[in-house]
């Protein structure tokens, strides 16, 4: 409760400073709207449904692409961990492509797929995939061999070992890879949405883009806040409980 209060005071202070900066008029109100104006924009965008619609479109792109990235990345990571051939080929490819900022996929996706949902999906998948491949491989390679040996003596065989020993043992690595993949996917999707107008749906990035075109700073800041909040919520609702579980079970230090 005390921690919550302190955090609340901190954010209240931030808003207060913002309000003061607005009142002393160092910058033109066109460049720095007041917190109230941003709230008014958010209220109207929420009321006429633009905000909800954009959020749904963006989250759908993100989630579908992310899940595809996971479904492809996990088995690829297992393959690269298990067989040298895959390690030398797909593993090296993954390592290389992971260093490529995922926004760099946007021009390629546009040329290949045009201004379509597929292009958006492609960018998100590329953002997720390589992190997950690398994390899974690292995780599996770091499983102490003694776990496998212990399981073997208890009568565990190939698939049972993979699913009941290797994968759970690699879980801390896999989860941090999933988290990184999520962050990459989220960033690249925003970039793609800002650069590219796709007629099948306006996401949050597009709202941001139009905010700039219309010189509507309250819209720009409002949407930025929404994007930040979504990122925070994803962390708190999805990743945080998994990480807490891992910390509790493994006894690693709690952040």
């Amino acid at each position: 409760m005390k921690r919550f209060l302190l955090a609340a005071i901190f954010f209240a202070a931030l808003v207060l400073i913002w309000e003061i900066l607005f009142r002393v008029k160092i910058w033109s109100p066109v460049l720095l709207p007041s917190p109230g104006q941003v709230v008014t924009y958010l209220e109207s965008a929420a009321a006429d449904g633009t905000l909800a619609k954009a959020t749904v479109i963006t989250m759908r792109r993100l989630l579908v692409g992310y899940v595809i990235g996971l479904i492809m990345g996990l088995p690829l990571g297992l393959l690269t961990a298990r067989w040298k051939l895959f390690h030398d080929t797909i593993g090296t490819l993954a390592l290389g492509l992971q260093t490529l900022p995922s926004v760099c996929w946007v021009p390629l996706a546009l040329l290949w797929f045009g201004q379509t949902e597929t292009a958006m999906l492609f960018v998100v998948v590329m953002g997720t995939l390589w992190s997950v491949v690398i994390a899974t491989e690292t995780g599996v390679r770091n499983v102490p061999p003694i776990y496998r040996r212990a399981a073997l003596t208890m009568g565990s065989k190939r698939f049972h070992i993979w699913f009941k020993v290797i994968l759970p043992a690699a879980l801390p690595f896999i989860v941090s890879g999933m988290k990184q993949g999520w962050a990459f996917a989220w960033r690249s999707l925003m970039a793609a949405e800002i650069f590219v107008t796709i007629l099948t749906g306006f996401g949050l990035g597009q709202l941001l883009h139009y905010g700039r075109e219309l010189n509507a700073m309250e819209q720009v800041i409002g949407i930025m806040i929404v994007i930040v909040v979504i990122g925070l919520l994803a962390d708190k609702i999805f990743f945080s409980p998994i990480e807490k579980f891992l910390h509790r079970r493994w006894g690693t230090s709690q952040a």
Partner: protein, 277 residues
């Protein structure tokens, strides 16, 4: 998977004492390729272990005793020679011969109970209630009933090895293979475990092969102590420990045995061997 003509075994049946195995190790050789060429870890080692016998293998590090244990477990294959359990050749690992490792190989993603259940879940013909009953029995046996919901990292080193022991006992193996299980523990905890392991061995009637570099520990636990010599790994000398049980690690009689074994060990010229109790 319900086989016709074969009824489901209950927890009571599962907890019945199974006949311990007789082990025959015949001319087992094993070499490893290292940086400085091939090292003969075991050179034509032969050894018989009777049903429910407690045999300790002692020797300096690198004398092949752990390799032999792994071969008996089926985790490694000998280059030549044969391991027979009750007359049948050992071709791979299996739950008839369970291993307790030096470092606790407990699974950190499972609770204490989950770890003990791991091997039981691989046994067919048991209901989940039976498995729980069996697991509870063994956790009780090692004195950790209160900790079945605990996470592994919350346990002390001694408790971890007790859980390892319960996990190894739970599928009711015929042979228990122990690879320096107490080496990383403090002296006080070790002494408690010497008592426990003797009590459990008596209660569950297992054939035990126990690897250690601690001579006193070997004399305390073993019916027989086999002294290994290195380069190449082979059995150098055999001692029969003829003392009543349960044995106290600090008893004078036991010290006499330990001294004899230590002398033999020193005559092999390995200053690195730990001979302290």
């Amino acid at each position: 998977m319900h086989l016709p003509g074969r009824h489901r075994s209950s927890a009571t049946e599962e907890l019945q004492i199974v006949a311990p195995s007789k082990l025959a190790i015949e001319n087992v050789s094993k070499s490893f390729r290292g940086a400085s060429g091939s090292v003969l870890a075991l050179d034509r080692v032969s050894l018989n272990v009777a049903e429910a016998e407690f045999v300790c293998l002692v020797g300096a590090s690198g004398c092949g005793k752990t390799t032999l244990l792994n071969i008996i477990a089926g985790l490694e294959k000998p280059d030549s020679g044969l391991v027979l359990a009750d007359g049948k050749p050992v071709t791979g690992p299996g739950r008839e011969r369970l291993v307790m490792f030096q470092e606790p190989a407990l699974f950190p993603w499972l609770t204490v109970l989950g770890n003990v259940l791991f091997g039981l879940k691989l046994k067919p013909n048991l209901t989940s209630k039976d498995r729980r009953d069996v697991a509870s029995y063994y956790l009780e046996l090692v004195g950790l009933s209160r900790f079945e919901r605990a996470n592994i990292h919350e346990l002390s080193g001694g408790m971890k090895q007790r859980v390892s022991l319960a996990r190894a006992l739970a599928p009711n193996p015929r042979v228990l293979l122990m690879d320096e299980p107490f080496a990383a523990l403090d002296a006080l905890t070790r002494e408690q475990l010497y008592g426990d392991i003797q009590r459990i061995w008596k209660a569950r009637r297992k054939t035990i092969v126990f690897v250690t570099h601690n001579v006193r520990e070997a004399a305390c636990l073993g019916d027989r102590v086999l002294l290994f010599a290195p380069h190449p790994g082979r059995i150098h000398e055999e001692f029969t420990v003829d003392l009543p049980r349960p044995r106290d690690i600090n008893s004078v009689d036991l010290a006499a045995y330990a001294t004899r074994i230590t002398k033999a060990l020193k005559s092999l010229g390995q200053p690195e061997a730990a001979v302290t109790g």
